[in-house]
């Protein structure tokens, strides 16, 4: 399966040379670091590849890296059902500008995953049809999966009904 992935990476580098920031490999799994504004085009390209179409979006999730610059990261896992290969795309997001273009136009299945990423980290997806929280109540003010959110929550942040 490595040959197929290598060919895919070569094609990616040809077509999107300036948007591919880094390609790393770990025990057969390839991770491509991508520039933020090109993510929708790259996912569309990967979905429509003729010989190895990555047609299943397995997961879209966020990561809080706790770095000064580019604190957050959005990770996209794509899988090809025919060829059974997996590729991982990463987009680094700075805390000052927490917006990423949505991939729901390409993969409608990413809808709730992006809502979850918004709910847990605060990363807004531009162009998302239904950008609201999915786990926490709609008027909740904090983002629970950030590293500076306490594990047990902030007391009083969600109201309980009366006794």
């Amino acid at each position: 399966m490595d040959e197929m992935l290598e060919k895919v990476v070569v094609k990616l580098r040809e077509d999107f040379a300036d948007a591919i920031l880094d390609v790393s490999e770990f025990r057969g799994d390839i991770t491509v670091l991508v520039r933020r504004d090109k993510i929708a085009e790259i996912t569309k390209f990967l979905r429509d590849l003729p010989d190895c179409p990555f047609n299943l979006i397995e997961d879209v999730c966020g990561v809080d890296r706790l770095e000064r610059k580019e604190r957050f990261e959005v990770v996209y896992h794509l899988f090809s059902l025919e060829k059974k290969v997996r590729i991982c795309l990463k987009v680094r997001v700075d805390e000052a500008e927490l917006r990423v273009p949505t991939v729901t136009g390409v993969f409608p299945g990413a809808n709730w995953h992006e809502r979850e990423t918004y709910d847990m980290y605060g990363i807004v997806f531009d162009g998302h049809p239904d950008m609201r929280r999915v786990y926490m109540p709609e008027d909740y003010e904090h983002f629970p999966m950030r590293k500076d959110f306490p594990l047990l929550g902030i007391p009083g942040s969600i109201k309980l009904p009366r006794q």
Binding site: L152, G153, S157, L160, P161
Partner: protein, 168 residues
């Protein structure tokens, strides 16, 4: 039949409290608030092996108006707490609450920002059943304890207050 031994002269005397309590406790129709894994054990408490119907809980009425006891079976999150309270408020009195399982009693294994650490923080609970999940027999034991509790209540006062009758 049991009643004929009492009806030797054709009538028997009792206190209204005792009669009402007997009627109420032997016909507790549960409102199953089955939220997660404890709901499976709740369902199996209704199967032929551990029959909850022989204790009077003939049907699991999913309508709060038609039920007597709400069995909160499962993890209650803060978001769901509003809904559970709403259903409890719609139940007509007399009503009781059984908190089934570790999650409903005290938050269970989930000590986090989204799980209410015990349903008694917003509902008046009568019986806590422990277990993760409690066996159906365990739930039936809890139901029997609730029946014993109801036996000791003043139900004639009718304003919803539950003062305990002296145990004698």
């Amino acid at each position: 039949m049991g009643l004929e031994s009492l009806l030797k002269e054709g009538f028997f005397t009792s206190r209204v409290d005792a009669l009402l309590n007997w009627c109420q406790r032997n016909s507790l129709w549960p409102m199953p608030m089955g939220l997660s894994c404890c709901a499976i054990e709740l369902m199996s408490a209704g199967d032929p092996r551990h029959d909850i119907a022989r204790f009077g809980s003939e049907v699991m009425r999913f309508s709060p108006r038609q039920s007597d006891v709400m069995i909160v079976a499962g993890t209650v999150t803060y978001k769901m707490a509003k809904v559970v309270r709403k259903i409890y408020d719609q139940m007509s009195e007399p009503r009781w609450v059984i908190a089934m399982g570790a999650c409903a009693s005290s938050g269970g294994m989930f000590r986090s920002y989204s799980v209410v650490q015990g349903v008694d923080l917003f509902l008046p609970v009568d019986i806590f059943v422990s277990g993760c999940p409690p066996r159906p027999d365990n739930l039936l034991h809890g139901l029997m304890e609730l029946q014993k509790k109801i036996e000791r209540e003043h139900s004639v006062i009718g304003d919803g207050s539950k003062l305990s009758l002296p145990l004698n």
